[in-house]
């Protein structure tokens, strides 16, 4: 979804997030920070692989999480994917590499609400879902400014994970996330994504995270 209803919805999410924090009882809410590192496999496998050489890539991120009463939680997370590739020409499924360097950078900011299955044990599973603003940049050699791409798209995601409390202040976790960013790719007929009829910038991510806080 391009800028529009989705973006307005997304833009209002930080406000919800702040309201949740303010409304939370100081005694019951816990604010924690986290950092994560993972791998994302893009839904637009053929397109991404054609330009970047692989349909997967490393993503690192971090954010803030607020645990709320009734085992609810809210997080805001920023992450970054960056990879180098080259421009191509696709004809009847055959790919011709043109040797022109290109760089793709994706920077999502995602807001998630969810539920923690916290029964007082050291291991806490959790599930959640939310909305994100995905900043997409694509630059290449020989391009004019208006030929490079700098756009933002709204995406949606669901996730689930398990957190293991290692110490009183540190927890380790593993998380899986499915994201959809519809109609982000393939809008230009002269794009690789349009050649493979792929339009979703989302994908499936697996990551490990370190949580600081109680």
């Amino acid at each position: 979804m391009r800028l529009g209803v989705g973006l307005r919805l997304c833009a209002s999410v930080p406000l919800w997030f702040v309201l949740i924090i303010l409304m939370a009882s100081p005694t019951s809410a816990q604010v924690r920070g986290f950092a994560d590192l993972g791998v994302t496999t893009f839904t637009a496998k053929e397109s991404v692989e054609t330009v970047l050489g692989s349909s997967s890539g490393l993503v690192f991120g971090g954010g803030v999480e607020v645990t709320l009463p009734a085992n609810l939680f809210a997080t805001v997370r920023a992450s970054r994917f960056r990879a180098d590739g080259e421009r191509v020409f696709v004809f009847n499924g055959e790919v011709f590499n043109l040797g022109i360097p290109a760089t793709v950078t994706i920077t999502p900011v995602e807001f998630t609400g969810g539920y923690r299955f916290d029964r007082g044990q050291r291991t806490v599973p959790y599930v959640g879902g939310g909305v994100g603003l995905h900043r997409y940049e694509e630059t290449s050699a020989f391009a004019d400014d208006d030929e490079n791409v700098k756009e933002s798209f709204t995406g949606y995601h669901v996730l689930g994970g398990v957190e293991f409390r290692a110490t009183r202040l540190i927890a380790l976790g593993g998380e899986a996330q499915w994201t959809t960013v519809p109609d982000a790719l393939g809008q230009d007929a002269n794009s690789v994504a349009s050649q493979f009829d792929e339009s979703d910038l989302g994908g499936v991510s697996f990551r490990v995270k370190v949580v600081i806080g109680r």
């Binding site: 020409f89 043109l98 791409v149 690789v192």
Partner: protein
């Protein structure tokens, strides 16, 4: 088989038809030429043959007008006066809401961060007015701009019309790895002297006497020849390996493909680093006068196509054609060329004003992916008056229209000087043996001139990595700038070639 109309006024064309008809019955057995000397003096360059107005070269102003000013926002270049204390520097920067400076190696200036929304020029002026600042300027992005230093390049409107300066930034003229065959009247590719026997003939009832045995000098076109430039030359008109141009058409066409460029001489060409393969498959007036054993017929052209492909040509330019019935022999040759990985460019024809008959072998192009038929546009980006139309026209390129756009509205390249070749045009009293070692820069027009732009373009694409003939045709069509009726049409095909856009290809999103 005839050559597509060339630009220079040739009042004798009609006359030559009569002459050919008049002499056909009395044509003697063909004479043969004798190589007299394997070397000769270098070619003579007589410069441009008319007084055209110069065309403005690409400038920074035109870049700005196109919205490509390239200023970087959010930072400035600032040089403080020597001895300025850090505190004083910060005081100055505070006035423009700057938050940081960045010192760089190999620099006696700083990069200063400013508000990304601020106008860099305005902030730079504000800073420059401070006593501690020696200078402050916005950061403009520089880019390569391959503007050839050939002195006549500004008069080649055709290359800026294709945005070739920026296309050459991406691919500067291909390399010697690509061979382009020029199937034409030959090419002025070497220096030599050849002895011919010039027979008598008649034009419009005017008899021209036999000149007897004459020794004719040839030279390589100075702005075309270079070390390892020509490969596997072949002459099917004289059935030998010396495809010497006695017309000028083939040399002009070869120039558009690969004129030596950035050599401070003359003009530029599209793919100026490629190797050229001269393959002579059509005869000129002097071939006729000297009694060449063969004429440029369908079968000769078909053989020329196969020869070029079998000897390593990756791109074939055919600025030749005819009206009349279909030609299976040429069709099969073109199919063979594509099957061997060669891309073929064919002129669409110049017969629009003469009943617009279907052109051969251009008609084959629409049925073979990897063979493309090229129509011509003038300097005004409108179809040239002569350019044939039809379903076989697939793409357009500059061919010039000197009636509509003036004498400099043609395509300027170096070729044989007609003062020394067309001696029969001055009447019998001025008739003398020709010289093919004197050259001039001349404006020609025709789809013959449009086709080599596309052949050069194909060479650039091959060098860039697109090796399939069908894919080359597809990318040319995909990135063509639509002209005329929306979408493909019979006047322009898919539109004007857009080499830069095609060479850039596709990104993930754009």
């Amino acid at each position: 088989m005839w050559v597509m109309v060339r630009a220079r006024a040739r009042c004798a064309i009609a006359a030559m038809v009569l002459w050919a008809a008049a002499t056909a019955a009395q044509q003697p057995a063909p004479s043969f030429r004798t190589l007299v000397a394997d070397t000769a003096a270098p070619g003579i360059d007589r410069g441009v043959r008319d007084a055209d107005r110069p065309t403005a070269a690409r400038t920074t102003a035109t870049e700005r007008a196109a919205g490509r000013d390239g200023v970087v926002r959010g930072s400035l270049i600032v040089k403080f006066r020597p001895g300025t204390a850090p505190v004083a520097k910060q005081s100055v920067l505070t006035r423009v809401n700057s938050v940081a400076t960045q010192s760089l190696s190999y620099a006696d200036f700083d990069i200063v961060s400013i508000d990304a929304a601020a106008d860099p020029e305005a902030v730079a002026r504000q800073l420059a007015a401070q006593p501690d600042v020696e200078y402050a300027q916005a950061r403009y992005r520089l880019h390569a701009m391959y503007t050839p230093n050939d002195p006549l390049f500004p008069r080649q409107w055709n290359f800026p019309a294709l945005d070739m300066e920026r296309a050459w930034d991406i691919n500067p003229g291909a390399t010697t790895a690509i061979t382009v065959a020029v199937l034409d009247s030959g090419v002025a590719y070497r220096s030599t002297s050849v002895r011919f026997t010039a027979r008598a003939f008649t034009v419009n009832g005017v008899p021209f006497p036999s000149l007897g045995a004459v020794t004719v000098p040839f030279a390589a076109a100075p702005d075309l020849a270079g070390p390892d430039r020509f490969v596997a030359p072949r002459d099917f008109i004289w059935n030998d390996t010396d495809p010497l141009d006695m017309d000028g058409h083939g040399t002009h066409v070869a120039g558009t493909i690969g004129q030596l460029t950035n050599n401070s001489v003359g003009v530029a060409g599209m793919a100026f680093n490629v190797r050229l393969m001269p393959v002579k498959v059509i005869d000129g007036d002097w071939d006729f006068i000297f009694g060449s054993p063969f004429e440029g017929t369908d079968d000769l052209v078909a053989r020329g196509v196969r020869y070029a492909v079998d000897n390593g040509a990756r791109v074939l330019n055919m600025s030749i054609g005819r009206a009349g019935p279909p030609s299976p022999v040429m069709t099969e040759a073109l199919n063979y060329a594509v099957s061997q990985g060669a891309f073929v460019v064919v002129a669409a024809g110049n017969d629009f004003l003469d009943g617009n008959p279907i052109q051969r072998p251009a008609d084959v192009a629409e049925r073979i992916d990897g063979v493309i038929a090229v129509g011509a546009i003038g300097r005004d980006r409108v179809r040239a008056r002569y350019s044939s139309t039809g379903s076989f026209v697939e793409i357009s390129a500059p061919g010039g229209d000197m009636v509509r756009n003036g004498s400099d509205g043609g395509i300027l390249q170096q070729t044989l000087d007609p003062d020394f070749t067309d001696t029969y045009l001055g009447g019998a009293s001025r008739y003398r043996a020709p010289r093919f070692d004197v050259f001039a820069y001349q404006f020609f027009q025709g789809t013959s001139m449009a086709a080599p732009h596309v052949a050069g373009f194909a060479a650039l694409l091959m060098q860039q990595g697109i090796t399939s003939p069908a894919a080359i045709e597809a990318i040319m069509k995909r990135y063509a700038t639509d002209l005329g009726a929306a979408g493909r049409d019979n006047e322009y095909g898919y539109g004007l070639i857009n080499p830069r856009a095609a060479l850039r290809g596709m990104g993930l999103v754009k």
